[in-house]
């Protein structure tokens, strides 16, 4: 068997135009040997779930700096489950107040990262969660 790189969908749901973080993460994950599908801005939860299915990713990475995470993340989680993508792990980054993190994790979000997190920490967290 040859190598099987971890496949990650990096998406920006909603109308949030802050895409620096998403691009930084996409590059860091590529440099860590992962295959990153970058879908660009203004993705609806439906688009994200469908792309996750077609691309058969291990990870969906959402970048949200607009404050809309409490509305968007549950929708993405529901749609992924609805498509049978129960094994896909969801990571969230951006501006997320501390008190919002426990409920998001209760929904199944694997981990949440705020501004200033080193990309090494993020890479390690994804690797540990997927363990291929």
């Amino acid at each position: 068997m040859t190598t099987s790189p971890i496949r990650v969908l990096v998406a920006k749901p909603g109308l949030d135009g802050h895409d620096r973080g998403a691009k930084v993460i996409a590059r860091a994950l590529r440099d860590a040997g992962m295959e990153v599908i970058y879908t660009g801005l203004r993705q609806t939860p439906e688009m994200i779930a469908e792309a996750a299915l077609q691309e058969d990713v291990d990870v969906v990475g959402l970048s949200i700096l607009s404050g809309a995470h409490n509305a968007l993340v549950p929708k993405v989680m529901d749609l992924l489950k609805g498509k049978g993508l129960n094994d896909v792990r969801v990571f969230l980054g951006g501006i997320v107040p501390d008190e919002d993190i426990p409920p998001l994790k209760a929904l199944g979000v694997a981990d949440v990262f705020g501004p200033g997190t080193s990309t090494d920490v993020i890479v390690e967290s994804i690797r540990k969660t997927i363990r291929k």
Partner: protein
């Protein structure tokens, strides 16, 4: 239900999972491929190649919309390069295909080259066979934008589009030798930009020097606005008819299969050989590296 039965019944998740297994060369993929292969052969396979940033993804997206309007289902395989240093890749072609999401008649898969050269991923042939068997009417393959002559795509696709754009340095220089050998249709995209006319003229000049049986058409497009896309599709249809009328289709298929069988046989023979003679090969490497033996007689001996 087996994976291949699920795929034949239209399960897109099963299709996506089999593609991953093929990419990762997992043993189960072989049986599924064998079962699916006979069900293919109906799809129209279109290759789209050209230098980076010429608008391949944008054009593919617009063409997909046009095929959808004609009630044809569309699969898109978009290939981007794997970093030779890290083994990772950023696959960004979907950014330009946003309009296609939410349509069940479109399936998009991004693939990394994983070390293969020539603009395609190693497993592209197999993925095309599977998507074909899954029943898509049109399969479009976007190659890596390497800007060199991408021979592999011309062998795989029925019709190959080469996408050019004005302002890629000197117009004539931008059109590399070899591209005419693979282009069935030349597209000058970004016809809205200055220099488009000069670029088209340069392309026409190049074509006049070529003596091909098929008269390669040049289509000007503004993919970002959907302009000229209908003409591209008409040109592809004309090329398809040309192939069908001249036995070109079956000849292309024979050539493709011959190459595929060669590759498969070579891989299989080599892996069997290595498995059976690992120790002898190791010893031979030592002997040749230290110049006690030469590689030619050593290989002769190993294969006796």
């Amino acid at each position: 239900m087996t994976l291949h039965d699920s795929i034949l019944s239209g399960d897109r998740r099963a299709l996506a999972r089999l593609i991953t297994k093929i990419e990762n060369d997992q043993p189960e993929s072989r049986a599924a491929l064998a079962a699916l292969y006979p069900r293919g052969g109906r799809a129209q396979v279109i290759g789209v190649t050209g230098a980076p940033g010429t608008g391949k993804s944008t054009l593919v997206s617009e063409m997909a919309k046009a095929y959808r309007r004609a009630a044809k289902t569309v699969a898109i395989i978009a290939v981007d390069p794997t970093s030779p240093f890290t083994g990772g890749a950023i696959l960004g072609d979907r950014i330009r295909m946003r309009d296609l999401s939410g349509d069940d008649g479109v399936f998009i898969r991004s693939m990394a080259t994983r070390g293969s050269l020539g603009g395609l991923a190693r497993a592209t042939d197999e993925v095309v066979a599977v998507v074909d068997a899954a029943g898509f009417d049109v399969i479009m393959i976007e190659t890596v934008g390497a800007g060199q002559s991408e021979v592999d795509i011309a062998r795989l696709a029925h019709t190959t589009l080469v996408v050019e754009a004005p302002g890629l340095g000197d117009d004539v220089q931008a059109i590399k030798a070899g591209i005419l050998e693979i282009a069935d249709v030349l597209v000058l995209n970004k016809a809205d930009l200055p220099g488009a006319e000069a670029a088209t003229r340069a392309l026409r000049g190049m074509l006049m020097l070529a003596h091909t049986q098929w008269d390669v058409p040049i289509c000007e497009t503004v993919a970002a606005e959907g302009k000229g896309v209908a003409e591209v599709i008409a040109a592809i249809d004309r090329h398809r008819n040309y192939l069908l009328q001249n036995d070109g289709m079956i000849q292309r298929e024979r050539d493709r299969v011959r190459r595929q069988l060669e590759n498969l046989a070579r891989d299989l023979l080599y892996s069997r050989f290595i498995a059976a003679k690992r120790d002898e090969v190791d010893a031979a490497i030592e002997a040749v590296a230290s110049r006690q033996r030469d590689p030619y007689s050593v290989v002769d001996e190993l294969l006796k």
